[in-house]
């Protein structure tokens, strides 16, 4: 489908490109589907390096500058490599009142990462999200697909240590 040569990139394999081509083919005819396409491609590659954004825009028949504009606007998309495990810390109001700030400081102290950063060894990426909608259990974080509520500083480190 894509008449643009696949760019060489250390983090994107040929298998991933096969899936990406499929995603582009399904989404290209549907109006307004660039956001869905970017989301699905990010799920495959882990993040959206600039070369991939160019590749997707050619496949979707859109100007690369426009697609870059969309990728940089929405906080879901990342152009930085992600760790093996993504930590999403809820920074919503209820979680804030219940002390998520202190937990983030502790994580920063233990693993050296702040909001939007990835550890050197690519073990963890930390993202502050604005509200996970689980306010009943504030403070809340999601690691990969697991939700953890009623966090304490020590408890959080214990949970994270389980993830290699």
């Amino acid at each position: 489908m894509a008449h643009f040569e696949r760019p060489q990139h250390p983090d994107i394999t040929n298998d991933m490109f096969d899936k990406i081509d499929e995603i582009i083919a399904i989404n290209q005819p549907r109006p307004g589907s660039i956001i869905a396409a970017l989301r699905e491609c990010q799920n495959v590659a882990g993040y959206l390096p600039i070369e991939l954004i160019d590749y997707i825009s050619y496949g979707m028949n859109l100007a690369p500058s426009e697609v870059f504009g969309i990728a940089s606007f929405y906080s879901l998309f990342s152009m930085e490599p992600k760790g093996r495990h993504t930590i999403k810390m809820c920074l919503g109001t209820a979680c804030y009142v219940k002390g998520i700030k202190e937990i983030m400081s502790r994580v920063h102290r233990e693993y050296g990462i702040g909001d939007g950063e990835t550890t050197e060894d690519r073990r963890f990426s930390l993202d502050a999200v604005r509200c996970l909608g689980a306010c009943g259990l504030a403070p809340v974080m999601i690691v990969d697909n697991d939700t953890y509520g009623a966090l304490s500083s020590d408890g959080t480190v214990e949970i994270l240590e389980k993830y290699e």
Partner: protein
């Protein structure tokens, strides 16, 4: 009926369900006891929760270790297990029946009528509870004008926050002439602290679909879209299943129920932008562009998605529609105040005992919600303020808690009803820090298109940060007020226009805290770290040792009958000692 909402998932509903299923199988009870996983029940603080029918017994704080005893006692021998009942915190009374628990007793379940009562992935259960009868009546027995008339009589106003009369909005779109019109559902619940829409989507997705079908009939639209937050994967999944099942039953698609009316619904997912909850930004996002609002007029009812007439309504608004059509607009308007009819779902959280979702009739007082339903402020702390309306709203102090829940009454207080986030704050909350928190959020989420919001909120944030860091000056108070009013008057969209509200309302009710930060360089609530010394006051210390026992970093040294001492080298500034000390002895 086991709660399968996101909150209970995080406290272990999945593991509990598996354990329960295994135990029932090994006891040969699978024919007599059926486990149904429902949507969010609303009482998240005590999850995982389970309701056993037909007795109506409510169990809470369930863990897998409870399973063998529970199955043996309740399901085999028919004896409910008191140990797992709800315990009323003040009286310590155990209350087995859900309808007697104070949290549920005062509520009126209209939008949330099906929560916890059916399996959201089985359309037959929704239909069995009068589901889609409203849509059937609308497409087969009513004209578009009749539907709009009922909606106007009901007095339903947009539950997403703006409170625009729903019937009127539909009337405008109905009058626009175009072959193509769109019905949009705003499921991008972006307010931090709000999870009402998540609950409705996870517990009762068909209610939303039915509301959209009726709206489509009213304005003569044949295509609908639900713009759902990506951060709500369970809701997105259940919506997808619901749409599929509705199509199979001929409730969506061509010739609905043989009426000749066509309407179908598809889902678009958000990508993490708060501003996309704003109606014009949402439409831009569906069109595959950056979610930046545009000026109005022209209003979406005339030119909206892809320049076609469009109505956009919130999840909670849609979930009320079918009942209004079935029971009549007058029925809906029989509850509420003069200008605010019906019920509202609030997400009560923060420093309150009963955290969860609360659906109450309009006109009830804030005090009733926070104390009678919410159980008041726990840990013997004093109430300080309640935040209404999220980052677009304001804080309400104790003196005004008798204010009734009503769109206009709340605006008089300097807040807004908003989407329903209600965050209770106790004496340990710094109101200056909260204003800074909201402004930080707004700065992060501002789309950047208009100067008042992009630059104005940046200045407000800088000033607030200076004040929290001990660098505040007297002129800052004047600047905060002036800049706020300029932004309110000139910003392009609702996000910008309401962004200064938290600042203005903190200045209005908590000026003394601003003064303390600026003139005394002190934070009365002891939360602004740059203003704290992390030292024990030897005169106030009662040598009780509580701080020593609770410090998670072992940074406090203490021996019996001696004043405690904090080692600043080990201290991580987590503020635990401040919270635990009952004698204000830490500076």
């Amino acid at each position: 009926m086991l709660c399968g909402g996101t909150g209970c998932h995080s406290t272990g509903t999945k593991a509990f369900r598996e354990a329960l299923q295994n135990e029932l199988e090994s006891q040969g009870l699978v024919e007599e006891v059926k486990i149904i996983e429902t949507g969010c029940n609303g009482f998240c603080a005590v999850g995982p929760v389970m309701l056993v029918q037909p007795e109506g017994i409510f169990y809470q704080n369930l863990r897998t270790k409870h399973v063998p005893h529970l199955v043996e006692e309740h399901f085999l021998k028919g004896r409910p297990v008191p140990k797992l009942f709800y315990v009323e915190p003040a009286s310590k009374e155990t209350i087995p029946n859900m309808n007697d628990i104070p949290f549920f007793k005062h509520q009126v379940f209209w939008a949330m009528r099906n929560k916890g009562a059916l399996d959201p992935e089985v359309i037959d259960e929704y239909i069995a509870r009068d589901g889609y009868f409203g849509a059937a009546k609308a497409v087969n027995e009513m004209t578009a004008d009749q539907i709009i008339e009922e909606m106007k009589i009901s007095g339903l106003r947009g539950r997403g926050g703006a409170g625009f009369p729903t019937g009127l909005k539909w009337e405008f779109a109905g009058k626009s002439s175009s072959d193509i019109k769109y019905v949009l559902c705003n499921a991008d619940e972006g307010d931090p602290g709000a999870f009402m829409d998540r609950s409705i989507l996870e517990a009762d997705p068909h209610a939303v679909l039915e509301g959209m079908i009726i709206a489509a009939r009213a304005i003569n639209s044949h295509q609908g879209y639900i713009y759902a937050r990506t951060e709500y994967p369970l809701a997105v999944r259940r919506l997808g299943i619901a749409i599929q099942q509705a199509r199979e039953y001929g409730l969506l698609g061509k010739d609905i129920l043989g009426s000749g009316f066509d309407f179908d619904i598809d889902i678009y997912q958000g990508a993490g932008a708060f501003v996309c909850g704003e109606e014009t930004a949402l439409m831009r996002s569906i069109e595959g562009k950056r979610g930046m609002p545009r000026p109005r007029p022209p209003f979406p009812a005339l030119r909206g998605l892809w320049e076609k007439p469009t109505i956009l309504n919130n999840v909670e608004t849609f979930s009320n529609v079918s009942q209004i059509i079935l029971n009549g607009g007058k029925w809906y308007a029989s509850v509420g105040t003069e200008t605010s009819k019906g019920t509202k779902v609030f997400a009560l959280s923060g420093d309150v005992a009963n955290i969860g979702l609360v659906e109450v009739p309009m006109g009830i007082s804030l005090r009733t919600i926070i104390y009678d339903i919410g159980g008041g402020v726990p840990n013997k702390k004093k109430f300080k303020a309640v935040q209404l309306g999220g980052p677009s709203g304001g804080c309400v102090p104790e003196e005004y808690l008798d204010t009734p829940v009503d769109y206009e009454e709340i605006v008089k207080l300097g807040a807004i009803m908003g989407s329903g986030g209600m965050i209770v704050m106790d004496e340990n909350t710094c109101m200056v820090d909260m204003a800074r928190f909201f402004m930080d959020f707004i700065q992060d989420e501002s789309c950047g298109k208009c100067t008042p919001c992009r630059e104005g909120t940046r200045r407000l944030l800088q000033i607030l940060e200076n004040i929290c860091n001990g660098k505040g000056k007297a002129e800052d108070l004047v600047a905060l007020d002036q800049i706020s009013n300029v932004i309110k008057a000139s910003a392009l969209c609702g996000l910008g226009q309401t962004a200064p509200n938290p600042v203005l309302s903190s200045l209005r009710y908590f000026m003394d805290e601003f003064h303390a930060h600026i003139y005394e360089k002190k934070c009365p609530a002891k939360r602004c770290i740059p203003l704290l010394k992390f030292e024990v006051d030897p005169d106030a210390c009662t040598k009780c040792g509580i701080c020593f026992r609770n410090c998670p970093s072992n940074a406090i040294s203490w021996k019996k009958k001696e004043v405690a001492k904090i080692d600043k080298g080990k201290c991580t500034q987590c503020l635990t000692c401040y919270e635990k000390c009952r004698f204000e002895a830490i500076l």
